[in-house]
């Protein structure tokens, strides 16, 4: 009998088991995107730390078992309470301060939180997974007739579906839920009617995080309990959220399960595509139905928001001359490879500054341009034997092409949605880099020859290479300055400040934004391919989303929307990384802290704050401030 089943429907059983795995994944997508949706709905916060909090939930269950002997079932209740309780502290001390700011700031703040949480756990546990035993009552499997269903997986499915439906009921059908929906619609008025909205928001955050922690406990026996488990799932969950549409609770539940199922199906049919399919689905949905499958409003979300940087386009000629002089003599005082690395990242930072600081587009997957170009340039120089100048050109062209592709999908959404879309697309590129035949997988493309520039400049000489890199940087930087001071640059800034008004003035804002992505892609491509020449390698780090976070940090630290700020930021971050290399994952923690400090107290960045103080100084001395300072003061007023 059993043999008969085994022999006659092997493909069927294989298919079912892949679908089951898909459904289980879907259950976690649904639980996580549900928590994200609830938090976003009421708080307007995209909780980037959500994946990390899921990971903390799993670790918390592991720790309870390991240190206190508390098993799975009590952990199901205790862990959400513990992690939810901790999240209340986070909400009260940090997140609360971003409610009156642009949504993008809460995204950046929770990204900082993610870095801190992950860094601490990596420092404590390494990247290895800890095993967590299944509860003994749920071991074994049940014969369903067409397949064997492992009992634990069956339980996860039933439990997560129940939790999702209970949450839906609580929001759509109870008094507390109606208060939440009312506060989502108009928080001020809801509070004026006597509802304690601040506490409601705090509890909502704790509830959403508690859901993530609960998912973490349920995931612990299935997946390895590892510090990386959150980062792996959160970007997929963002894609799920974009597909489902942020407005709808049911949307996140249905699309969570459905996309898990689709992923499982893909795994059964064509395994290499399974990690890409959700991102492909997201791109298709965005092209057909930008608001998402269940999105309430068609098209534009209610809160269209961008980070407003300064409007500075002026460069102090004395300062520039001094800096140029410094750059020329620097290799005699500092390690040239460090300087070259910083220059490459400075180009990358200029590119991001163009997109966010001048275009107001929060591209959270900016490393796609940098890393994608690096791979192409490395392949061209190593395999096709391109000389360096053509290799760099190939990289720049790749960046621009990626700019066209990513840009044309991403600009269909605005504000933080654009951030999620760009991040998901970048992650797609990451998976391509992991799997594609020419990228070298985990190793990347190594020992790329430096070659002879124009056939006669030997780049193997370190000092020569430095001046070539400096020249490339100056060309890129000059292009950046030309872009932001051109009529196009002014139009771009107008769109950033007030898109509706720009549209009414007759600008086709979408084509301006697309061009912005293309130019920024080319600029990042220049940095990425130059980096290949310096280090002779293109690797997965170049396309990993942590790199996107890093460039954001550089630009924010230096001063968003300032001409020179991002260059300072790039040097500062690269220097920090070089000097703190020995401290391992603590670098991430420090970066996270910097993110949080910048968002809470230091939103103008180093150069921005410096200019502001200089502006005060000038005014105190009775001189009229320059145009640039006035503009930034006005925007500083808007922030505060």
């Amino acid at each position: 009998m059993f043999e008969w089943i085994d022999v006659s429907i092997p493909t069927g059983a294989a298919l079912y088991s892949q679908l089951l795995i898909g459904l289980i994944n879907g259950a976690f997508y649904a639980l996580l995107s549900l928590g994200l949706a609830i938090i976003f709905g009421l708080l307007g916060v995209i909780n980037f730390a959500h994946g990390a909090q899921y990971m903390v939930g799993a670790f918390c269950a592991w720790a309870l078992l390991h240190y206190a002997g508390i098993g799975y079932w009590p952990a199901l209740l205790l862990v959400p309470l513990i992690v939810g309780g901790l999240s209340i502290i986070i909400e009260r001390t940090l997140i609360r301060h971003t409610y009156k700011l642009d949504h993008a700031y809460s995204l950046l703040l929770t990204f900082g939180l993610l870095l801190i949480i992950e860094g601490v756990f990596r420092q404590a546990f390494g990247t290895f997974g800890q095993p967590y035993a299944m509860p003994s009552s749920l071991t074994g499997a049940t014969n369903m007739g067409f397949m064997y269903l492992p009992n634990y997986r069956g339980w996860v499915l039933v439990a997560s579906l129940t939790i999702c439906l209970v949450t839906w009921y609580a929001i759509e059908r109870t008094q507390l839920g109606s208060q939440m929906r009312a506060a989502t619609e108009n928080a001020k008025l809801t509070q004026a009617l006597g509802v304690n909205v601040p506490v409601l928001m705090m509890l909502t955050y704790a509830g959403g995080v508690g859901l993530a922690a609960l998912a973490g406990v349920m995931a612990a026996p299935i997946y390895q309990v590892s510090p990386m488990m959150g980062a792996e799932i959160i970007i997929v969950v963002f894609a799920v959220v974009v597909i489902g549409g942020m407005g709808s609770i049911m949307g996140s539940i249905v699309s969570g399960f459905a996309l898990g199922l689709i992923e499982g199906l893909t795994k059964a049919i064509y395994p290499p595509a399974s990690s890409l399919i959700i991102f492909v689905a997201m791109a298709i949905i965005l092209l057909i139905r930008p608001a998402g499958l269940f999105g309430r409003s068609q098209g534009v979300p209610a809160a269209v928001s961008v980070v407003r940087g300064g409007a500075d386009t002026s460069i102090n000629p004395w300062l520039s001359t001094a800096l140029l002089f410094l750059a020329i003599v620097a290799p005699f005082f500092f390690y040239p490879v460090f300087l070259m690395k910083a220059l490459c990242f400075a180009l990358f930072a200029c590119s991001f500054n163009l997109v966010l600081g001048y275009g107001g587009l929060l591209s959270f997957g900016h490393t796609a341009f940098f890393g994608g170009s690096a791979y192409v340039a490395a392949h061209a120089m190593k395999v096709w034997g391109f000389p360096p100048e053509l290799g760099i050109l190939a990289g720049v062209a790749t960046g621009a092409t990626l700019g066209v592709i990513i840009g044309s999908i991403a600009i269909r959404r605005q504000g933080i949605y654009l951030a999620m879309v760009t991040m998901a697309l970048a992650q797609m590129l990451y998976f391509v880099a992991v799997q594609a035949p020419f990228t070298g997988g985990e190793d990347g493309i190594q020992s790329v020859p430096r070659g002879m520039l124009f056939g006669f400049i030997d780049l193997n000489d370190r000092l020569t290479l430095y001046y070539v890199v400096l020249a490339i940087f100056l060309i890129g930087f000059a292009a950046f300055v030309r872009i932001i001071t051109s009529p196009y640059g002014h139009a771009l800034k107008a769109i950033r400040e007030n898109e509706a008004r720009a549209v009414s003035l007759g600008f086709r804002t979408n084509s301006f934004k697309l061009i912005c992505f293309v130019l920024a892609g080319a600029l990042a491509g220049l940095g990425g391919s130059t980096k290949v020449i310096v280090f002779g390698i293109a690797s997965l780090t170049d396309v990993h989303f942590a790199m996107s976070g890093e460039v954001i940090l550089m630009v924010l630290l230096g001063g968003l929307g300032t001409v020179l700020g991002p260059i300072f930021g790039a040097f500062a971050i690269i220097a920090m990384e070089s000097y703190l290399q020995a401290y391992g994952a603590w670098i991430k923690v420090i970066q996270g802290v910097i993110f949080i400090v910048i968002v809470l107290v230091f939103r103008q960045g180093i150069v921005g704050e410096f200019d502001r103080i200089a502006g005060w100084g000038r005014r105190l001395m009775g001189r009229s401030p320059s145009k640039g300072v006035q503009a930034r003061d006005a925007s500083a007023g808007a922030h505060n």
Binding site: S178, A182, T184, N186, K188, A192, L193, G194, G637
Partner: protein, 239 residues
């Protein structure tokens, strides 16, 4: 007409100032409302009437001065505390939540005291609402929304109401109905501070009228003087 000696006003506002970002909107408002009174704020668009109500409810980011309600200073308190102290607020445009049903809108504000009217009596007063209990807020007519906006305050226990232009944009029949409701509430002993532009409407029920212009109170007119001072009021309100 100034408040009579001996009876402390229920709401006492002194030197109230408020700002929207940099613009100075309320420039020192003094007003008193005694228990059981219906007092109106009259004035042109942009005079600061709605801002006065918002300031009383603690909804302004920046304001200064003192606001005393039933003897305690509420200026600077969180707005839900002000609501729970006994002030019911009905905003301009009525503030009905479109994603909530009529029934959900009705029971949204928490109940904190003896209700002015029972839920049954509220539905009796506004029979339309009972018929539409399961409809979403976005599906209601303007009149129904206004009734719901007032109705939901009455079951909370609030005995002091701030009503912001309850007749704005409504058909005359509905305006009449709302007038009757306000009179009934007055008879039931509720205190009401009413923002209006329609002074013919409010003269049927109000005791006193404060006239606002450019963020200041420029005149106080007792209701029995309205007929005599009609010309002056028309000048205040006219464009």
């Amino acid at each position: 007409m100034q408040p009579e000696a001996g009876t402390a006003p229920m709401l006492c506002v002194r030197d109230l100032e408020a700002w929207y970002d940099e613009s100075y909107v309320l420039q020192g408002i003094d007003l008193d409302v005694r228990e059981g009174e219906v007092v109106t704020l009259l004035g042109r668009n942009g005079a600061g009437k709605s801002t006065t109500l918002k300031s009383i409810m603690g909804m302004m980011d920046r304001c200064a001065g003192t606001i005393t309600f039933k003897g305690s200073d509420i200026r600077g308190a969180a707005s839900h505390r002000i609501a729970l102290a006994g002030i019911g607020y009905c905003p301009e445009e009525r503030g009905i939540f479109s994603s909530l049903t009529v029934a959900e809108n009705m029971i949204l504000p928490p109940r904190f005291g003896d209700p002015a009217l029972s839920l049954e009596r509220i539905y009796e007063l506004f029979p339309n609402l009972l018929a539409r209990r399961a409809s979403f807020g976005s599906k209601l007519s303007g009149g129904e929304q206004q009734m719901l906006a007032i109705g939901r305050l009455l079951r909370t226990g609030a005995r002091f109401l701030l009503l912001d232009e309850p007749t704005e944009g409504l058909a005359p029949v509905i305006v009449e109905q709302i007038g009757r409701v306000i009179l009934e509430l007055k008879r039931a002993g509720l205190t009401i501070l009413l923002v209006e532009q329609n002074f013919v409407f409010v003269s049927q029920m109000a005791d006193r009228h404060y006239v606002m212009e450019d963020g200041k109170i420029v005149d106080v007119i007792a209701n029995d003087r309205v007929q005599a001072e009609e010309g002056k009021i028309r000048k205040y309100l006219g464009v």
